[in-house]
């Protein structure tokens, strides 16, 4: 990436130079669409084949936390869009502020995700030897964060799901593999995004970005919004299966 804002020889205008950079970023994002698309395809095939287990797994996720994180990511996309606007209009202090806010919201997302992941480890819902979809129902004293009435509902749901799918426990692991795989890869993208934002923030403090040259802010913005879009799909796919019972 050129870092000076000078016009390079192969371009006629700065405008054309910037359009080319953003075109390249979009081509990269198309490869990312195919990357996540393949994973979502695998999810779809398994969800169709083992719907009861997927619905059971989805109902053990913490919907308020997931919904809150969705709002956090949408807000971070807004602050990112405002950062790009600040760069385009030459508001250098606002640019640093909005970049910092975007990073902060990203870390709020990580914090909530940590709480959710830790809960799944405590509840024996991580695929592997100790995975047990009925663990909390059978050991209520070990799952103190779940209320007795919630556990009563879960007990009934598991009984129903077991009647429909005797192999519920192994199929629920497929759901949780999809959950950790998809949210994990999404979180990895966010870690990379947060790193890029910190890199932008350092340059922004140095006052490098001007209305004439702010290509890196623009391109990291495209990446950050893309990661937001992935979550926009992950949220209903993972958290909202068969919630209406």
């Amino acid at each position: 990436m050129h870092r000076t804002g000078d016009l390079y020889g192969q371009f006629k205008t700065l405008e054309q130079q910037k359009d080319s950079a953003s075109l390249g970023m979009w081509i990269f994002l198309v490869t990312e669409v195919m990357f996540f698309g393949g994973i979502m395809l695998a999810y779809t095939v398994n969800r169709h084949a083992y719907f009861h287990a997927f619905a059971m797994g989805s109902n053990t996720l913490d919907l308020p936390l997931g919904g809150f994180n969705t709002a956090v990511l949408i807000a971070s996309s807004f602050t990112m869009a405002m950062a790009v606007w600040s760069a385009q209009t030459g508001k250098k202090k606002l640019l640093s502020l909005f970049l910092a806010l975007t990073i902060l919201l990203g870390f709020v997302f990580f914090g909530v995700k940590y709480i959710e992941y830790a809960q799944k480890f405590h509840h024996h819902l991580v695929p592997g030897k100790s995975f047990d979809i009925s663990y909390c129902v059978n050991n209520p004293s070990k799952c103190e964060d779940l209320k007795p009435e919630e556990l009563a509902v879960e007990r009934e749901e598991i009984a129903q799901a077991l009647a429909a799918d005797p192999d519920l426990n192994s199929h629920a692991q497929l759901y949780y593999s999809a959950y950790f795989g998809m949210t994990g890869l999404h979180a990895l993208h966010m870690v990379i995004g947060a790193g890029l934002l910190l890199w932008l923030l350092r340059q922004s403090f140095a006052g490098r970005f001007t209305p004439q040259w702010n290509t890196p802010v623009d391109l990291v913005g495209l990446y950050w919004h893309f990661v937001d879009i992935v979550w926009i799909y992950l949220f209903p796919l993972l958290y909202l299966i068969d919630r209406h019972k």
């Binding site: 953003s22 198309v30 807004f78 879009i229 209406h244």
Partner: protein
């Protein structure tokens, strides 16, 4: 030459504010819709809302509405490749009678069709 001389389009912050509010409302709507029993259409509604949200992000936050035509073409072609991936693979799975003992929604129809034709 003339194509590249238009000044950069700057989206007004008011537009961004309208988009974030729409996105938050649509998030609430998708959670509400998940608690209404729509049978097999729950997933259709959930994906329709998600796609609407994604479209808003792409058009306004990512400036696709104001991008050059060739950038828009790349975005559309990306969606086309994704559609190919999903459509061709799922049309294979959906037309199988059984997949690991679990039946796909259309398998009843397929099974009937196979009986008819053999």
């Amino acid at each position: 030459m003339a194509e590249h001389q238009h000044p950069e389009h700057i989206v007004h912050p008011g537009t961004y504010l309208a988009i974030i509010i729409s996105l938050l409302i649509l998030t609430g709507l998708t959670v509400y819709a998940a608690y209404v029993n729509l049978g097999k259409y729950n997933i259709v509604v959930a994906l329709a809302i998600a796609t609407l949200k994604a479209t808003l992000v792409v058009l306004f936050f990512m400036h696709a509405k104001y991008s050059p035509r060739r950038t828009q073409l790349v975005i559309i072609s990306g969606l086309f490749w994704l559609a190919l991936l999903l459509f061709m693979t799922l049309s294979d799975y959906i037309s199988r009678v059984d997949y690991r003992g679990a039946q796909f929604p259309l398998s009843q129809v397929t099974r009937h069709w196979i009986r008819q034709s053999s």
